[in-house]
């Protein structure tokens, strides 16, 4: 099993979510995060003083999939979250040692 963490733009969330549902991905966790990457945020001017807005708001999606669904999931995210502009975000994939459904105690792929 793999955990996919995708940092995406807010306004892309619905589109990515719908595309993932269509691809058969059945659950996800979303949270509000702030961060920066290569772009280093952007500069803004307020009353003549320039300052850097370095932590930009993004959405983090976390989903857990079976190994054979990984490529489908990352490709779906890539395809729907990409605008071609800097700030599209990143996808991180980690190995997941175990998953347990709290209600039933099912483990592994059954619990996804």
């Amino acid at each position: 099993m793999k955990k996919i963490e995708a940092i995406v733009r807010h306004y892309k969330l619905e589109e990515v979510k719908n595309a993932l549902s269509e691809a058969g991905i059945q659950g996800m966790t979303v949270s509000e995060v702030r961060g920066f990457g290569r772009q280093r945020g952007h500069k803004e001017t307020y009353r003549g003083a320039e300052y850097t807005v370095d932590f930009l708001p993004k959405v983090k999606m976390e989903l857990v999939v079976d190994d054979d669904e990984l490529t489908k999931a990352t490709e779906t995210i890539m395809k729907t979250a990409s605008t071609g502009q800097i700030g599209d975000g990143k996808i991180f994939v980690t190995d997941l040692a175990e998953v347990i459904r709290i209600r039933t105690g099912e483990t592994g792929a059954e619990a996804i």
Binding site: K2, A6, I7, V8, S31, E32, V33, R34, G35, F36, G37, R38, D54, F55, K58, K60, T74, I77, M78, A81, S82, T83, G84, Q85, I86, G87, D88, G89, K90, I91, F92, V93, T94, D95
Partner: protein, 112 residues
């Protein structure tokens, strides 16, 4: 590649971020979290009744770096986030199996 998750005090965030930028970290994601550790939160009194504030607000930083860079990042966080008081937080390190830049589709170290 390694993911470094650091739970730190809010007021240390800027200092840690600046120090990490100096050692060559080019991106990070930050979120507001609540938690407790050994300290189990702390006790407060309100109108004579004592109650425990057990989930204390903290900042979680997530940073993905190459294997070679991970030690210097950990050392930097340790040095800057530490106050010596209980509640300084923790650092968790995990392996990243794959990473994708959403805009370009670059993978692995190129996507860092």
């Amino acid at each position: 590649m390694k993911k470094i998750e650091a739970i730190i005090r809010h007021f240390k965030l800027e200092e840690v971020k600046d120090a990490l930028t100096e050692v060559g970290v080019h991106g990070m994601t930050v979120s507001e979290v609540r938690g407790f550790g050994r300290q189990k939160g702390h006790k407060e009194q309100y109108r004579g009744a004592e109650y425990t504030v057990d989930f204390l607000p903290k900042a979680k930083m997530e940073i993905v770096v190459s294997d070679e860079q991970s030690q210097s990042v950990i050392d930097t966080i340790l040095r800057t986030a530490r106050t010596g008081q209980i509640g300084d937080g923790k650092i968790f390190i995990s392996n990243i199996a794959e990473m994708v830049r959403i805009r370009t589709g670059e993978t692995g170290d190129e996507a860092l």
